[in-house]
Symmetry: C2
Subunit: 288 residues, 2 copies
């Protein structure tokens, strides 16, 4: 059984740590918030530490599951960060959704001290994290990927090595573009139906069997029709991911009109009381 | 066995007529183009007529499968049109994709002579028409729908009564919005991947298992990645359907930004040599 580390015991990180523990591994953990540590206090194979550096001194593989690019940077290279404790030959697997460009820079700084890094952002949400059915999009050296794959298989089902460092983050950005724009597609269609006096529930049913069918039409379409925007995936987080996409669009001089437009709408909603609603609340901007 | 009529023996209408014949019915047909009649000349239960009016005189139910609103109007109310021959108690089932507003007007003109009309546009393309697996979205009186359902079941699988007259056309418009905007979503994501030096095939594979998964990502995504734009569904026809959507948007004073934007792009492509390409050729407008 391996000595693993996991930093970031939030909605996603906590169930992931619990799944690694359930598989029999020792998991060294650290969290800024005292409350996040509660489920680990009495677990015989969980070891709570006072800093990322201390976790790093004990673990051969460390998972990071935090919110955004600056959080990953602080956990890696801040005071008492992982970099202070990581030994040559260790591996960092960053499962946060952050910038691909920053990922490449972090990986190269770690490589200088003999540490491998993979970017391995996920999709599938809290339910996927709890059930161990996440989709995991991995960037980094293929030998490193093959070496750590058994641990990734504890956390997810559809695990794809997409390419070199940063490629996992690029795939995740693509994922968020497709999800956001498809939500907008369904929202616009259901708005069209309502404006023409046609029952959206029947339209959804009629469309589900054909080319317009998708999990977004099925699940997010239902949220729009019922007006129940319990997340799911929060608007504030989807807006954050689309800011990463926007930076990638600018960096490459692209013009991706629907991705940019929907990103801006999510941003606008994230500044309202709908920040905590499921991002299918995009529907409201059309119906009003 | 019933006396049925079918007007419009094109890519969709021809296999539909053949399926009705294969089910044992007599099918009275008319087509403007001589060549379209060839598969019916020697069929013992097919009866070729010189005008829609003649077809109407023989049939209790007449299917119309033509291209656009003016074509349906001409077949119904033009010289030697169906209206001249239809008896009280007959039913017209229009499976073309046309304007919902025009549909309501046509239905009310037919009702004045005791003829029922259903709008029953389809999705599923030529393959669905051949295999009898079309999705059929039906608008009109529910008693009429129940009466003709056995014939619809010869032509399709997912058959939904969406609502009153025009509701089938509204659902089809919604279908075309979702398909067009989801194609754009996939095209923008794959453009983002390529610009960041990441293999779109791996991204597609990584995304297929999760919330970003759809038949569009699977099938149209593959067309974009291979550059093989054999239709599928032609850009010129998708552009025509999105013009119907645009008219519906204007009529109701809506603002559906992605549907309008993608509609305009399809229109632009329909005026180039890509008019006959699959509408996933939207990808080209981003990659160039």
């Amino acid at each position: 059984m391996a000595q693993l580390g996991l930093i970031g015991l939030g909605i996603m990180g906590r169930p992931m740590a619990l799944n690694l523990l359930a598989a029999g591994h020792t998991v060294h953990v650290y969290a800024r918030r005292e409350a996040a540590l509660a489920p680990f206090r009495d677990h015989p194979q969980a070891v709570i530490h006072a800093s990322p550096a201390e976790v790093a001194r004990q673990a051969e593989v460390v998972f990071t599951v935090v919110s955004d690019t600056p959080d990953v940077e602080a956990v890696l290279f801040g005071p008492q960060g992982l970099a202070e404790g990581l030994r040559a030959g260790a591996t960092v697997i960053d499962m946060s959704t952050i910038s691909a460009t920053a990922t490449r820079e972090f990986a190269s700084r770690l490589a200088a001290q003999g540490v491998d890094m993979l970017d391995a952002p996920v999709s599938g949400g809290e339910v996927g994290a709890i059930q161990g059915t996440l989709s995991i999009m991995v960037g980094g050296r293929v030998e490193v990927f093959e070496r750590v794959k058994p641990w990734l298989e504890i956390l997810g089902k559809n695990i794809v090595h997409v390419g070199e460092q940063g490629a996992g983050q690029v795939a995740k950005a693509c994922n968020q573009v497709v999800v956001a724009v498809t939500i907008e597609a369904v929202a616009e269609a259901l708005t069209f139906a309502a404006a023409h006096g046609v029952d959206g529930n029947r339209v959804r049913e009629a469309l589900l069997g054909g080319f317009a069918g998708s999990r977004i039409l099925e699940i997010h379409g239902k949220r729009m029709l019922s007006g129940d925007y319990t997340p799911g995936f929060k608007t504030s987080l989807h807006a954050k991911d689309m800011r990463i996409v926007a930076a990638g669009i600018t960096e490459q001089g692209l013009r991706l009109p629907c991705a940019s437009l929907v990103g801006e709408r999510l941003q606008a909603l994230a500044e309202t009381s709908d920040a905590e609603s499921d991002s299918s609340v995009l529907f409201k901007l059309l119906s009003h």
